[in-house]
Symmetry: C2
């Protein structure tokens, strides 16, 4: 499991964490730039959840940089267990936020046709933000699985 | 790990599967009984996802009954890996369906106040159905974690 892509303390792991961080921050940025987002509880929750994801991923990216520069090994079972739990929690919260926002977007654009009729609604921005949230979830799910395999191999 | 509550082929495992099955079926029943649910894509997806959950949980409940009556052991790594993947997939789909429907319900009842103003909307039924979906997800997440621990102990 020493060569697993995305393992903590490796370049691929760092890229994965920076990707999560970048997409989560982009989701927040696009959503905040969409006029009237604050009237939707789900979109506010998306921002909160993406904020937590940014903090978690940024923290682990810093740890990866530390491990890479000091050539430290981060693959001990206690640390990996912590990463598994953290990734599982943030992945669940991210999926919940992305899905609740996606439910509203599908309702507005497909079921009610509001996006066609009401041009003041920034539907495109809402959609882009949710797409970024789903990409963040996919990247966190990959991290979570890599950690799971490392944990499985280390016991 | 032989005494873990909820393990496959045990009475507690059977109860867990039957619980998932019952709550998923109740979620479908309540949603189908709510007038006009079919105009919401998210609610239709909830029914599809809960249908898949019923099939999966019912299948595993039958397997548990078979193992209990014939006194067979279901805890071999290949079978448990299959259960882990299946539980993980169904739990993710259930959470996605519950959250997308919950997003719409929060929008209607809290953000727009439609549930107060438009009395023809069966908001209570929608809410009960989504609550059942969340309980189904919680039970599936428990199953998924139990399987994960069994897999961890068997390697």
């Amino acid at each position: 499991m020493k060569d697993l892509v995305g393992r903590p303390g490796s370049v691929s792991g760092l890229v994965l964490r920076l990707g999560q961080c970048a997409f989560a921050a982009s989701a927040i940025g696009v959503m905040v730039g969409a006029l009237g987002f604050s009237t939707f509880t789900a979109f506010c929750y998306l921002i909160a959840s993406m904020g937590l994801q940014v903090l978690w991923s940024f923290g682990l990216a810093c740890l990866d940089i530390y491990a890479l520069t000091r050539k430290r090994d981060l693959q001990n079972p206690i640390l990996v267990s912590l990463f598994v739990v953290g990734d599982w929690v943030t992945a669940t919260l991210t999926l919940a936020a992305a899905c609740s926002s996606a439910g509203i977007i599908v309702l507005y654009s497909r079921d009610l046709g509001f996006c066609k009729d009401q041009h003041h609604l920034p539907c495109k921005k809402f959609q882009i933000s949710v797409a970024f949230a789903f990409i963040t979830w996919a990247l966190t799910a990959i991290s979570s699985h890599v950690m799971f395999w490392i944990l499985l191999a280390s016991v």
